[in-house]
């Protein structure tokens, strides 16, 4: 799968975008591969939508350039670019019905009526909307509008489809369903998708690769797994999932290990192969542990590498999982621990004294 993704479809080269005195993008560079599902993830105001609009041609970059399919897009207006967009509001034309909406761009291409009708019918079938062709925008539900907006982009057979928070207006259940549908649709047609989202879960589920953006910069560009397991800094770590941060001190560095003194967890050797060689190990002052890397140990369960005592402060029950807030001995701020609710395991009540197990290889190191 990865090998088919090697050719760059979009090359973003040192793109700067300024609005007056405000800089929305600080020299962004990235390559998006052909056929890839690529996400721009970040909190609102991080510049992800601006970057998408620069790629679409709605905003000219102040500096830098964007190339699509090997062609420099500088000076090429949005209506001549091989990209099509699915807008956050869906932007379904209210005076046209579904077929007219989907066929809108084909009509501009001066295709014959019969060809337009054929392509429109085909793509409506693809998004499961073939029986809604004569409906107008106000007669459609949110999910149906979303499908029409997608169909309207797909029918143009663009090289890239740009999606600006396309699922944010849907309710949770429909959103989950559309995430899966969108993903499998993208796989089956093989068009490059670029998704803008502030929902880290959505990005993790759908993307081949994700660019995490803060304040107009890409902080990390990696696969979902890479982002989750090896976040480059605390900001990325806390944006993607939940991360427990504990202060740490470097005691010594050998070829194989880093010896750390971690608050509440004690002295341990962290294997160096998990750490980026370029990383300045001496400067480490914080470590991170994901909630699922801790375990609440039952008395009999004694296989964990390391153990520490703690007290359950609070718990949140999610059905399949329970999130515990546990104050570890020797550390004031409680850590979050997630446990799968398997058969025979009951929820531990607050106030209980527990033994927490963990492993050295579950640790991520950070510096300020």
């Amino acid at each position: 799968m990865k090998d088919t993704h090697t050719k760059p479809m979009i090359v973003i080269d040192q793109v700067v975008k300024k609005f007056g005195s405000f800089t929305a993008l600080h020299g962004i560079s990235a390559e998006i591969r052909e056929g890839e599902f690529f996400s721009l993830l970040g909190p609102s105001g991080c510049g992800k939508t601006t970057l998408l609009r620069v790629i679409a041609g709605f905003e000219p970059p102040t500096k830098g350039k964007v190339a699509i399919g090997g062609k420099d897009m500088s000076g090429i207006p949005a209506n001549s670019r091989p990209t099509n967009m699915v807008f956050q509001s869906y932007a379904i034309f209210p005076h046209l019905n579904v077929e007219e909406n989907v066929g809108y761009g084909l009509k501009t291409r001066k295709m014959s009526k019969a060809d337009i009708a054929r392509d429109v019918a085909e793509v409506l079938k693809l998004v499961d909307m073939e029986s809604y062709g004569k409906r107008k925008a106000h007669e459609l539900s949110g999910g149906q509008r979303q499908r029409v907006a997608l169909a309207r982009a797909l029918v143009m057979r663009p090289e890239v489809i740009l999606l600006d928070e396309p699922l944010s207006a849907l309710d949770k259940k429909l959103r989950d369903q559309m995430q899966v549908e969108l993903r499998s649709l993208q796989r089956s047609i093989g068009i490059t998708f670029i998704l803008v989202t502030h929902d880290q879960e959505e990005a993790l589920i759908m993307s081949d690769r994700i660019a995490v953006m803060f304040d107009g910069r890409i902080e990390q560009l990696d696969t979902p797994e890479g982002l989750y397991r090896r976040p480059v800094n605390r900001r990325v770590a806390s944006f993607i999932g939940v991360m427990n941060f504990l202060p740490a001190k470097v005691l010594g560095v050998t070829d194989q290990h880093v010896k750390l003194d971690i608050a509440a967890l004690g002295q341990i050797d962290v294997p160096r192969h998990d750490i980026d060689p370029a990383f300045d190990i001496e400067a480490v002052d914080t470590i991170g542990v994901r909630p699922e890397m801790f375990t609440l140990l039952a008395d009999a369960d004694d296989t964990a590498q390391m153990k520490v005592q703690g007290e359950v402060v609070d718990s949140e029950y999610y059905g399949d999982m329970t999130y515990y807030s546990v104050r570890l001995a020797g550390h004031d701020t409680p850590v979050t621990i997630s446990m799968r609710n398997t058969a025979g395991r009951s929820v531990v009540p607050p106030g209980s004294q527990v033994t927490v197990g963990w492993g050295a290889d579950s640790i991520v190191v950070f510096k300020e």
Partner: protein, 288 residues
Amino acid sequence: MALRFDREAGQGLRLISLTLAYVLVMLAAPLLMVITFSFWTQDYLTIDTTLTLNNYREAWGTPIYQVLMWRSLKISLIVTVVTVLLAFPIAYYLSFHVTRRKALWLFLITVPFWTSYLLRVFLWKVILGYNGVLNSALLGLGFIDAPLTFILYNLNAVVITLAHAWAPFAILPIFVALEKIDRSLLEAATDLGDSPLRRFFRITLPLAMPGIVAATLIVLIPTVGDFITPRLVGGTDGLMISNMIQIQFGKANNAPLGAALAVSSMVVIGLISVGIFLVGKKLGGRVR
């Protein structure tokens, strides 16, 4: 549920009762009187209340009334077209290109209303007159050798004066319709390959149609019945049906004929309005 609805409806009725009574007394009653009058006959000071269609026969059959009706319609249609065509770019500019101080611009557009309409008509006389501002300026600049005479006391003067007077009424509804257009629709059209001009005709114009129809009706309906403007700047060529209605009620002392003319022009303009409304609905989308 039904009970509660009734109570709410009753409450609503009480709330508007004062206005409703006012409207009934001042608008509906006079209208009914005019309609009733149009079926009566007047002989100097006595009113014959026998119902008759003679007034309508005269109103529709006499050439002078036909000429005046056609002219009224022609003038107000020209005024409407000119006004709406001039108002659209202003509304468009206001909606799409003014980013700050929109309120100030809207405020400035209403400035002409600060002076009485009569004064404004007289000002146009001063501007368009034989020795008026326009002629003096053009003469002084050497563009013309003799004062232009086709600009006052004729149809042109009526059109110019009315178009100016009604411009704000046309600008505002078009502006509101343009403001309501979701800007992402325009981006979507561009994204799907439309040039700005093509996009204008496929998205902006159809979606602005409700505003254009409203502007058209707002200008068309009152201008057909205007009688001050043609009286002051229209000369003899510019007289309209309302001037004749006024004469019938006054000098000619034939209120029933005046009423029949009034009702007739009301019916004609009503039918035209419905026609414009239907055409507009077909051309543009119902925007929701």
